[in-house]
Symmetry: C2
Subunit: 446 residues, 2 copies
């Protein structure tokens, strides 16, 4: 574990040029940990440390770094230095890094990579759209023909294995290079040399096309507990494989995105990001909420006379607005998660809305009884109590239905439904809550 | 992919007793998919389908089911039926299932399991606290002594491998059974028979103690891209291994928990849960928000006279409250995520709060300039504009600092900081926002 004290020591060593500390204490730890340290350093400090690392370690650290910090670092490296790092990377990491470079630099870097097979792999991977299975896969994998004997398969494996870091499984292909199944290392180890692969391999396997989305990949690997998933082209030919570590990142990213959307952040920000970045990520939703608040003020403004005579109407306005917002977020959060894991779908909308109606009614009944009792007792006015109570249950039922309906419609329109859980639904419910409140007040109170 | 139509067909087949459809179309698909179908069926329909499945498939389906649906199903099975399923499961799934049974049933089931090794494994696993690495691990793994030759190692592997479903790696132990490293299947495949394990194994490996938390396990496996993580006791002896599929579930669960906490749901509910469950999960936060709203109404009540004379003060109350809530959630969401991935810590609180102060000030300046301009122009009152503007920037700065401080303090007190992102922070900011608003109004307006 990287402690705050250790990072302070690293900073001090960089400042005082204490390279022996950096070589002995930092360059020997895992690249993932070095990346964590670098994320806490200034740009200059990070560059100093990076240049000091042994080649192999610095390449791995580069793949582990946060994208924005990597970008800063790459700007200070020459294209031949970048090419030397890329040359050592797995094809998926290599392609990711190249794709992050400015377009003018990309060709320059690729042209300086020595290994021609690596160049081909990178070019191939760069052709897939950013969030597809093709962009997520790596080209390193082991494949054998189904007609081989175990003995020849092991020889083939030895030859291919030097380029593949983690051999989870061996893919079995037919004479047309089409994926027909997989062979576990375990079954190979417990087989006899003269067996043929044909008899050993498992034909029941999952696969995805290169055009599948990364969400689809994550869903399949998570559902079927897979460690690695082969990627094929439209003819069923094996193109590459996706490993679970990349998918764990996708799952984490998706979850973070929904979370940040709900919290009203418009970009994926992290706490160590610079003030400008964080400020910019927050302002769009705040402006929307502000405009919503202005609309609310206009609605209330039309009841100015009523408020002068009955200022107690104003007392419960924030309560009505807040309860509508809370119920709306609760409802939409459940729907958004259900849409994400495919347990909710548009075809089943009507029963879903009816269910929300019942839930909204039950919760509304409890809350509005409480608020009726309180306001009747406190202000000795049945009319005020009735207004607040009836408005509250109406707002809660309405917000529950609205919070369910909006994400479903957005999903139907191919818009990320998570957007509905943010300040959008709170603001909308604020406005509608106040309108309902004063309308009911107008009917039974003033 | 399981379509709505297919589920309807399954339901119809169950109703009409069309067993041949169920045998030919349902019993042949993957247990993870059967589980998805069962989650959409009623209890009786699910039981009918389950009884029809071949033994092996039904056991796997049982481990894939949602916990609450599994619980319902298990209530209808005899202890000897349950024992027969448990006997076939991996030790981690077996122990999970037994731990979910009512205590009176647990002993009865364990006593009817035939395989004595399985009984020992389950008893051992049940001793670990629910959310620890020990409870997450499985006892099936392959270990070899470091002194063995490759030839004997392969023989040992063949003997052990029949009980282990996925052999990702071979653990190497010394004569005291202490974990010293790991041997990849790849290195075994490319070795020669007379090599000794001593020369082949990799001693630099990650491990966790059985007492580590599941969050710690998830963090390590995610950070270092591990597929499997060995678990050791206090002396370093190998106890079991944790596989990535279980950790993916932990990561997903954690993310869902934070998401639901933020949306004001007190339990992990899913959209297919029964109305009673969903209603119960929602009501606690609604009651808290209601009490908060009542407090707000009391605060406003003390300014009753001012509102009668200046009803326009009431127009901007919901805006002030909503903006405070939005800023508070934005700030706390970033901190909660930072705390979860260890990029934020308590020791660095002061610089973090200063940063929030600056961000709150910048965003506040933008928003309050807009609202000042609007309200000054709209109501032709400099005092009203100044009140709303100054109150807004004060509330936004305050909410930003508050939203950062509260999760950090909760974390320090070992309370899940995610609780601060829910209606809690919105409600608190509502109350404080209104107090600030009227206090400033009192100073410059009335």
């Amino acid at each position: 574990v990287i402690t705050t004290e250790f990072i302070d020591e690293v900073k001090a060593s960089i400042l005082s040029g204490n390279d022996s500390f950096l070589n002995e204490k930092v360059a020997v730890i895992e690249p993932a940990d070095i990346a964590v340290i670098m994320e806490q350093l200034t740009e200059d400090e990070g560059r100093y440390l990076f240049k000091l690392l042994p080649k192999e370690i610095s390449t791995d650290t580069l793949t582990e770094l946060d994208e924005d910090i990597r970008e800063e670092l790459l700007e200070t490296l020459t294209t031949s230095e970048i090419a030397a790092h890329v040359d050592e990377m797995d094809s998926d990491d290599a392609a990711d890094l190249v794709s992050e470079l400015p377009e003018t630099k990309q060709e320059e870097v690729i042209s300086q990579i020595k290994d021609q097979e690596a160049v081909e792999d990178i070019r191939k991977l760069l052709t897939y759209p950013e969030d597809s299975a093709g962009a997520l896969m790596q080209r390193e994998f082991i494949k054998v023909n189904q007609k081989l004997s175990v003995l020849r398969c092991v020889a083939e494996l030895r030859r291919q294995a030097k380029d593949v870091e983690n051999v989870y499984t061996i893919y079995v292909v037919d004479q047309d290079d089409k994926l027909v199944g997989l062979l576990s290392l375990k079954s190979l180890l417990v087989s006899t040399p003269n067996d043929t692969i044909d008899k050993l391999y498992n034909p029941k396997i999952h696969r995805v096309k290169a055009s599948a989305s990364k969400e689809e990949v994550a869903r399949i690997m998570q559902k079927y507990d897979l460690v690695v998933l082969p990627v094929v082209d439209d003819e069923g030919k094996l193109l590459g494989r996706i490993t679970i570590d990349d998918v764990v990142d996708v799952i984490k990213e998706e979850a973070d995105k929904d979370y940040q959307m709900m919290s009203g952040l418009s970009e994926n920000v992290e706490s160590h990001d610079r003030i400008g970045v964080i400020t910019r990520a927050r302002i769009p939703w705040l402006i929307i909420a502000l405009l919503g608040g202005i609309l609310v003020s206009m609605v209330i403004g039309t009841y100015e006379g009523a408020i002068s005579i009955h200022p107690e109407m104003a007392f419960f306005m924030p309560l009505i607005a807040a309860m509508g917002g809370n119920v709306g977020i609760q409802s939409s959060a459940i729907v958004v998660q259900g849409l994400a894991d495919h347990s909710v779908n548009y075809e089943r909308m009507v029963p879903k809305l009816l269910k929300e109606l019942v839930i909204g009614f039950l919760n509304g009944l409890i809350c509005s009884s409480l608020i009726f009792a309180y306001s009747y007792y406190m202000y000795e006015s049945f009319e005020l109590g009735a207004t607040v109570g009836v408005a509250l249950i109406s707002v809660m039922i309405f917000a529950a239905i609205f919070g369910t309906f909006i994400p479903m419609i957005l999903h139907r329109w191919k818009i990320d439904p998570a957007i509905a859980t943010g300040p959008f639904i709170t603001t909308t419910n604020d406005i509608l809550g106040i309108i309902i409140y004063f309308t009911i007040g107008h009917i039974i109170y003033f």
